[in-house]
């Protein structure tokens, strides 16, 4: 595990970078079930966690994996699981529980070709909407999307920070290309990595109400087994965690679940932009497609074409204010995706007729190439 004090250049697979990020963030519990193309994360965890004093357990299925992850988090550990499409579908019930009971946890979904068993070893981006809306009931979601091994490291650290800060499940939505590509990564020294921990109660146990809003929208979280005896349930609950059907208590809890994240929308605009200067066309991309898009935009600029790229690193909550700026400044926007148009629906929703939104969709199990995006750019400028 990384304890270095100077930047370290290493050759890492995306999955390996994810595991390093998790350990750097303080993850000490992993429960999982084998599934292509996310199995490498589990195998690395099984080797590295015991050495770090952590706990690895292979569960009987993905439902159990997230159940154990939530249990460990309630026991005070930073915990995660990783899976791919079919397993991610199974986890939805417990993602909903974690949202309701406000249990910090990180779920990595390495997207593969779907629907169903689909193309286990090939990339698609078919789970963008499932990541947002897959779990039952109305609640906000936090979803980040890495496009490189470095970002897989960085966004896994940040996913833990978000989970701890907001007491929420956080999904790292990677894809097969990002997880399996081996590339050179410069890891920051440990002391430069910002680590956040969940708010803990400062009152004695007899004064503790596990779901009382301290004013921030995020109640301090005690761990089970440390003298604070409290109740946690997936039922609608009052500030003591006890089941309630009262309208006022239901309304208060639901609004707090939404507001604790929406109050910070301005802090959750995570993106990189390239070649903004004088751009008439903007490409909006995420995940491995953003790599092809960057190459395409470079090629276009070499030809003197006025094109920029916005790479989204946070997918949900959707970065309305960032995307809006580009919709207002561009003549046309292109959204390339390895699905039939999931994030582009959000771009169109925010667009409200400001500019023309074009899509480039590919669902044959192969990556979108730079030349395909460049061709779309040239077509848009013609």
């Amino acid at each position: 595990m990384s304890t270095q004090t100077t930047p370290e250049r290493v050759l890492l697979q995306g999955s390996e970078a994810c595991v390093r990020g998790a350990l750097a963030a303080g993850c000490r519990f992993y429960a999982g079930y084998p599934i292509t193309p996310a199995t490498e994360i589990m195998e690395l965890m099984s080797r590295m966690l015991p050495k770090a004093g952590g706990v690895f357990i292979q569960m009987e299925d993905e439902i159990a994996s997230l159940g154990a992850t939530i249990g460990a988090s309630l026991g005070g550990m930073k915990a995660m699981t990783a899976t791919s499409g079919p397993g991610f579908s199974l986890m939805q019930e417990h993602i909903s529980f974690a949202a309701m009971a406000e249990v910090p946890c990180v779920i990595v979904n390495v997207m593969r070709g779907g629907p169903s068993t689909g193309l286990p070893t090939r990339p698609m981006q078919g789970d963008v909407m499932q990541a947002r809306w897959g779990a039952h009931g109305d609640h906000p979601m936090l979803v980040v999307a890495p496009s490189s091994a470095y970002e897989f490291f960085d966004l896994t650290v940040k996913a833990f920070n978000l989970a701890e800060r907001y007491r929420s499940p956080v999904i790292v939505l990677a894809d097969e290309i990002v997880a399996h590509t081996r590339e050179s990564v410069v890891l920051p020294p440990m002391e430069e990595i910002e680590i956040e921990d969940r708010p803990r109660p400062t009152v004695p146990p007899e004064w503790y109400s596990p779901y009382r809003d301290p004013g921030t929208g995020i109640p301090p979280m005690a761990a089970f087994g440390e003298g604070y005896r409290f109740h946690v349930t997936g039922l609608m609950h009052d500030i003591n965690g006890y089941p309630t059907e009262r309208q006022d208590e239901t309304q208060e809890l639901m609004m707090r679940l939404f507001n604790k994240i929406s109050k910070d929308f301005h802090l959750l605009q995570w993106y990189d932009s390239y070649y903004d200067e004088g751009a008439e066309i903007t490409v909006i991309a995420y995940g491995s497609v953003a790599r092809s898009a960057l190459k395409a935009v470079k090629m276009a600029r070499d030809k003197g074409l006025p094109v920029s790229l916005v790479k989204l690193k946070m997918l949900w909550p959707f970065m309305r204010r960032t995307v809006m700026r580009y919709l207002e400044s561009s003549r046309k926007v292109i959204v390339p995706e390895m699905n039939m148009g999931q994030l582009s629906r959000e771009v169109k929703r925010v667009n409200q007729g400001k500019c023309e939104v074009l899509t480039l969709n590919k669902i044959d199990g192969e990556m979108i190439t730079p030349s395909e995006i460049l061709a779309k750019v040239e077509e848009a400028l013609a």
Partner: protein, 273 residues
């Protein structure tokens, strides 16, 4: 029983709004009493008891008790409990589930927790029916019984939960009825002391649904049924299959030793350090 007021004040949550959710004549209240007495008798600190439940009538049990309490999802209580036990090994983790909860939707988790020998005590409240949803057939509903979801008679054969967890590897398996309260207190106490995955299957009357469908319309009828039909394991060994029809075999079925998951994990820690 004269200590009951003391136990109520010590172990029931004064901050929890009553009345409770269970029907008159339900056996879960008796189980709650037995659990409290076993914990008190065992001398455990309230801070060290972790009570986890799934969904259904039995899922509502933990909230009334002043321990660390967690009400999880349907069938998955053991998965949460596994995570908690590994994060906080000092906790005495107890899981309460119903028969549908434990052996239908949670059947996979039940057999794997037993196989893994995770140090958890599991209490399965078996009322042979889905009570909370209105009396549908469960995996322990007798063959042929008319229920809300088997109006022409149940076409399937019931699980023997105790034998199921024995086969899956549980190190302690016992069965009792809520009528045999003294025995139940003792069996829960023994299960709590056992290191590894221990199971107590508790036959519990659901007057509202199972009673109605079997012609036992009052709590007294159901208690009498438990009283008259319970047979100890030792005696059952000498009885024929025909004689055991509709009997409730009670007592300790399994009591063996095996390394627990946590002990093995601790060994890995020492070896890789």
């Amino acid at each position: 029983m004269k200590q009951t007021p003391h136990l109520i004040h010590r172990y029931l949550r004064s901050s929890k709004r009553f009345p409770h959710v269970w029907c008159p004549g339900c056996g879960i209240g008796i189980l709650l009493g037995a659990l409290v007495r076993a914990i008190d008798e065992g001398g455990y600190s309230k801070d060290d008891i972790m009570l986890v439940s799934g969904i259904g009538c039995s899922g509502r049990l933990p909230v009334y008790l002043d321990f660390n309490t967690l009400h999880t999802t349907h069938g998955r209580a053991l998965t949460f409990a596994t995570g908690i036990k590994l994060a906080k090994p000092h906790l005495k983790v107890i899981v309460v589930m119903g028969d549908g909860d434990a052996s239908s939707i949670g059947g996979n988790h039940l057999i794997h927790a037993a196989r893994r020998n995770i140090d958890i005590t599991t209490i399965i409240v078996n009322n042979q029916i889905y009570g909370m949803t209105g009396g549908q057939a469960s995996p322990t509903t007798p063959f042929g019984l008319t229920t809300a979801s088997s109006p022409y008679g149940h076409l399937e054969h019931p699980f023997d939960i105790s034998k199921l967890v024995e086969a899956a590897g549980a190190v302690f398996v016992a069965r009792s009825t809520v009528y045999h309260t003294k025995a139940l207190d003792g069996l829960i106490g023994r299960a709590l002391k056992k290191k590894g995955f221990s199971v107590v299957e508790v036959m519990s009357p659901c007057v509202t649904h199972f009673g109605k469908m079997t012609g036992m319309s009052s709590p007294v009828d159901m208690m009498r049924w438990q009283k008259d039909n319970a047979v100890p394991f030792e005696k059952a060994r000498e009885m024929s299959t025909e004689e055991l029809q509709n009997k409730i075999v009670t007592g300790v079925l399994v009591d063996i030793e095996k390394p627990t998951f946590h002990e093995e994990h601790a060994r890995i820690w020492r070896e890789v350090k």
